[in-house]
């Protein structure tokens, strides 16, 4: 749906003011998840399974309960009876089962009991007195092994209707899509290449561990303060898990130290509330880093087979892929997303993709920027790169030849509206990076990437103050500078300075429902809602001016922060500034506010192209990323600096994922690297300056043309870096991460 009230000339939008929360954050005034305290507060701690898979025979909490410092101990029995349903239909049950184990511990780190005590130390000591009798069961952590006939069954009956008969019960969802005739397409090809790829699970790696403060009375009324990407989903889920009414639980989102998708669900929040209800005191729970790694969402691991047919001129004649994703001991691995995104950048006549959602004895996967898409792009774009090498073709030319554009039938079904993939490829081709000479030992890689983007349920309220300033209440936690973008969009509509607008992330009791800050939706959806709410307020401002001038409201328009007569026939009145109207609003009809409550549907898909140079030390296998350029379509960059930040962040996380980050499990199924020392995210000195190019192909579904930019940036890096490394090393790297031992081994195998 195109909007007819589109705007292209901007005063505030596109400028780069400081973020409103910046000073609070650099001075330590900002309150994060662990910064809240309450009178009489207790400290919670969670006992976790040391086994990858074990039946819980008995839990004896009596010794812990006998301690005078211990005020409550909870196990699964202290939560509501949420009914089990297969697949994602039973997501509340899945979350409950993850938050506190039921009959079985399903992974190393799975919560089995929790205590609340008068100090954090006392709580930790009390855990040691809880006796759990386990019957250890066989486990599986690898996706291909979890699908094999002899794999231990994690849970019978978890598969939904989509899974074909005869598959292992660990396969819980199945996706198949595409169009055309791939066999006919492969027959037309001059070169057909088939290959297999593997990626390990990685963690979102946000710097702030999960933390919350919960208070729940026996009257069913509660308060929760937590670090989250979405406090309404926290409210809804906690209420369901504790058997209370949603509206009786008020949830406030703290400042958030990163989420990347990993804070779109709950882990410790229901536990804090259950402890609080039992102890009748507020309970604070703060995870350690090790708990974050062991028990919160990493992304899925993947095993993938790709087959592509190409003509000698680079035209792709057919493509198919099978994507097996492991998402821990619960349904939810984004096999469907991986499959749908894998070929989405290309205009294909014949394409087929299959995705599997597979359970294994690992923590429940959580979203991580464009969940599922980076792995698929890694596999597909590696094969395309190899085909370019074999046919002696330029990788950007080949991508341009096959690129999707407006009207293309996407590999996953619909036809694209106006999209900007070709523009990113043209910009990449023209960028000095692409033609810069490489030194010996260096290689260059490119890759495209796609993500759907999302709209989602959104509520915004904008209230004007007497002095002409404005307060804007949004419900999407600010994970990337969105308060600045919201203020810019409101300023644009109202015509008042950016500094005169205060944006607050409102709590669940103050505003209508809002979906989570995910799906790259915030600047798009909360932004659209902000514009509409501001326009709603402007309508009222114009009404007041019309009444004052005694002319019809249609004869008043809003310009540069003032009501003005819409034309010479409307009358001759001086412009009436916003502050003049609000100063008298109490006497002219009462407070002026604007609202928006709806589900914007025109998010607009997004594409990017990355160029990477890598240097590989042939004697040690160590990779240095020497140059990196991100080119992505933002539709319209509201605050270009924060758009660039999203681009750079995607590249930085992608570099970690591609080179060193991985979940490492021992034979015993226990996670071996649950601290930042051995789970290697990049440090600042590992990264080159990451250059960015913002392409702006306006999204027809947003009044200012915005497309979300939060996720697409993580899609191309794995492939682009793998292509650069493979070209530098002279050997195709098919497994992530490309850690030095793996590269050195590949070099040796290659002679």
């Amino acid at each position: 749906m195109a909007l007819d009230d589109r705007k292209t000339d901007f005063t505030f939008v596109g400028t780069r003011p400081n973020r409103p929360d910046g000073l609070d954050k650099v001075t330590g005034r900002a309150k994060f998840g662990a910064d809240m305290s309450a009178p009489g507060m207790l400290h919670g701690a969670i006992l976790r399974s040391p086994h990858a898979h074990a039946r819980i025979v008995k839990i004896d909490t009596s010794k812990a309960e006998a301690l005078k410092d211990v005020k409550a101990v909870v196990t699964r029995a202290d939560f509501a009876d949420v009914p089990f349903k297969p697949g994602l239909a039973g997501e509340f049950w899945n979350v409950l089962e993850n938050v506190m184990a039921g009959e079985k511990a399903l992974y190393d780190g799975h919560a089995v009991a929790a205590v609340a005590a008068t100090s954090a130390l006392a709580a930790r000591d009390a855990l040691k007195l809880i006796e759990v009798e386990y019957e250890v069961l066989p486990h599986v952590t690898d996706v291909d092994k979890a699908m094999a006939p002899d794999a231990p069954v994690i849970r019978e009956g978890a598969a939904d209707y989509s899974v074909p008969e005869g598959m292992h019960p660990n396969v819980v969802r199945y996706h198949e899509s595409g169009h055309g005739d791939v066999d006919a397409g492969f027959a037309e090809a001059d070169l057909v290449l088939e290959d297999s790829f593997v990626t390990e699970a990685t963690h979102q790696g946000y710097i702030e561990p999960h933390a919350c403060l919960g208070l729940l009375g026996n009257d069913g009324k509660g308060e929760l303060w937590c670090t989250t990407q979405g406090h309404w989903i926290a409210q809804k889920t906690c209420a369901a898990l504790l058997g209370i009414e949603t509206s009786q639980l008020r949830v406030t989102a703290s400042e958030i130290g990163g989420g990347f998708g990993g804070k779109t669900t709950v882990f410790i929040e229901p536990v804090a509330l259950a402890l609080s209800r039992k102890a009748n005191r507020p309970v604070k729970l703060v995870m350690t880093r090790s708990e974050v790694f062991r028990a919160t969402g990493p992304t899925a691991s993947a095993s993938m087979d790709i087959k592509i047919g190409m003509k000698n001129d680079g035209t792709i004649t057919a493509a198919c892929g099978e994507f097996r994703l492991q998402g821990g001991a619960f349904p939810g691995a984004p096999g469907d997303m991986t499959a749908m995104c894998a070929f989405a950048a290309y205009n294909l006549t014949n394409v087929k993709q299959i995705g599997y959602d597979v359970m294994a004895n690992r923590p429940k996967q959580a979203a991580y920027r464009a969940p599922g898409a980076p792995m698929g792009a890694f596999a597909v774009e590696s094969v395309i790169d190899e085909m370019c090498n074999k046919l002696g073709l330029d990788p950007i030319e080949v991508r341009l030849k096959n690129a999707a554009h407006e009207g293309t039938k996407a590999s996953y079904g619909p036809r694209y509206e106006r999209i900007g993939l070709v523009e990113t490829l043209e910009a990449a081709k023209a960028h000095p990076h692409y033609s810069a000479p490489l030194k010996p030992g260096q290689g260059r890689g490119v890759s495209c990437g796609f993500w759907f983007n999302h709209g989602g349920e959104t509520s915004v309220t904008l209230a004007l103050s007497e002095d002409g300033s404005a307060q804007l209440m949004v419900g999407t936690p600010d994970i990337g500078g969105s308060r600045a973008s919201m203020a810019l969009m409101a300023a644009e509509v109202l015509g008042i300075p950016y500094e005169n607008i205060r944006v607050t992330v409102a709590d669940t009791a103050t505003l209508g429902y809002n979906d989570v800050s995910h799906g790259s939706r915030v600047t798009y959806a909360s932004g659209l809602a902000t514009i509409k709410a501001a326009r709603h307020a402007v309508e009222k401002l114009c009404e007041r001016a019309a009444a004052k001038w005694d002319i019809p409201v249609e004869a008043v328009k809003w310009e540069n922060g003032c009501a003005v007569p819409s034309g010479p026939n409307a009358g001759d009145f001086d412009p009436m500034p916003l502050a003049d109207i609000t100063a008298k609003m109490g006497r002219t009809g009462g407070p002026i506010s604007g609202h928006f409550e709806a589900t914007p549907e025109g998010a607009g898909v997004s594409f990017g192209t990355h160029i990477v140079d890598a240097e590989v030390d042939p004697e040690t296998g160590k990779t240095t990323i020497t140059r990196y350029t991100v080119i992505q379509d933002a539709g319209k960059a509201i605050h270009p600096t924060y758009v660039e930040g999203q681009f750079q962040g995607g590249a930085a996380q992608g570099i970690g994922w591609a080179l060193n980050e991985e979940y490492i499990y021992g034979e015993d199924g226990r996670l071996q690297n649950s601290i930042f020392l051995d789970y290697r995210i990049p440090v600042a000195s590992d990264l080159p300056m990451i250059d960015t190019v913002i392409v702006e192909v306006p999204n027809p579904g947003h009044p200012f043309g915005v497309r979300g930019v939060g996720e697409t940036g993580i899609v191309p890096p794995l492939a682009a870096i793998a292509n650069a490394v493979s070209n530098a090393a002279g050997v195709r790297m098919k497994q992530l991460p490309m850690s030095p031992p793996r590269i050195l081994a590949a070099l040796k195998d290659n002679g």
């Binding site: 051995d678 290697r680 440090v683 031992p741 081994a745």
Partner: protein, 288 residues
């Protein structure tokens, strides 16, 4: 937990000798406090040695040798005007440890006594021929650094023994040292392989050499065969290849999350060559 801050090493030694349960000395605390907070080691007795007179001193003795107090930090070593020109390898190895914050606390002695096979300063100290003074109930003795670690987390110090000084020999003429480690990132990581080399030249020919490997065996190794491979050579390609082969042959590593056996063995040889070249250039008075 009992906390003590004795005024002398004799007192520190007596406190340790009489303590029961788990005892730790507190130098910079960058291992002790981390292990405490992560519940790996909760000491019953903590003996802070930083209140003892002179423990932060870095002194050049009349014969050109150096005496370092056991609480002298990495930052103090790096900022010392002369220590680094005598022993750049030792200073650089210490400087690789941790971040700026960690550098303000961490010490050579703590790095040594923590007993990690991957400790960065230890191969550099072994190559340099560093000794430590050990004060115990029976007085003080000097021990070569390579005699201290006996296995991961274990040392040869007996109950009541505390290191009271670090002694670095006089550098002398035509000599240089170097330390290199392999980590997958550029900093803030733990050595997958570490190599320390110290050598002396007569003209272009290597006359003395000590080569030490870290993270490739249960303890840091002093490898005689590596020294033999280059002594008498001009560090030509054949000598470097022999050095690499000897280094790889000395490895007895484990396969773990940080690196495979094959990788560690191979890279030990690569780093031995690279470190030897740097030490050689330094001995010749070139900048490296």
């Amino acid at each position: 937990m009992d906390y003590h801050s004795p005024a002398s090493f004799a007192e520190a030694s007596a406190l340790a000798a009489n303590a029961t349960g788990v005892t730790r000395f507190l130098a910079g605390g960058t291992d002790v406090l981390v292990q405490l907070r992560s519940e790996l080691v909760t000491p019953d007795t903590l003996i802070d040695i930083k209140k003892i007179d002179g423990v932060s001193d870095i002194t050049r003795n009349a014969d050109g040798s150096w005496t370092l107090g056991v609480a002298a930090t990495g930052a103090e070593m790096s900022e010392h005007p002369e220590l680094g020109s005598d022993w750049p390898g030792v200073v650089e190895a210490m400087d690789l440890i941790g971040s700026t914050q960690v550098q303000g606390r961490a010490t050579l002695t703590g790095n040594l006594c923590n007993g990690s096979p991957a400790a960065d300063s230890v191969p550099a100290m072994v190559a340099a021929g560093v000794t430590v003074s050990v004060t115990g109930p029976d007085g003080t003795r000097d021990v070569a650094v390579e005699e201290i670690p006996t296995g991961p987390g274990k040392t040869s110090l007996s109950k009541g023994e505390v290191i009271s000084a670090v002694k670095i020999p006089a550098r002398g003429d035509n000599a240089g040292d170097a330390y290199l480690r392999f980590i997958p990132r550029t900093e803030m990581d733990i050595a997958v392989v570490g190599v320390g080399v110290s050598l002396r030249l007569d003209g272009d020919t290597v006359t003395e050499a000590r080569v030490s490997l870290g993270a490739v065996a249960p303890t840091v190794l002093l490898v005689e065969d590596c020294a033999k491979a280059i002594i008498g050579s001009t560090l030509d390609d054949a000598a470097l290849d022999a050095l690499a082969a000897a280094a790889s042959a000395a490895c007895n590593p484990i396969d773990d999350k940080r690196g495979t056996i094959a990788f560690r063995t191979e890279v030990a040889g690569v780093l031995a060559k690279r470190a030897a070249k740097i030490a050689y250039a330094r001995a010749k008075g070139e900048k490296a």
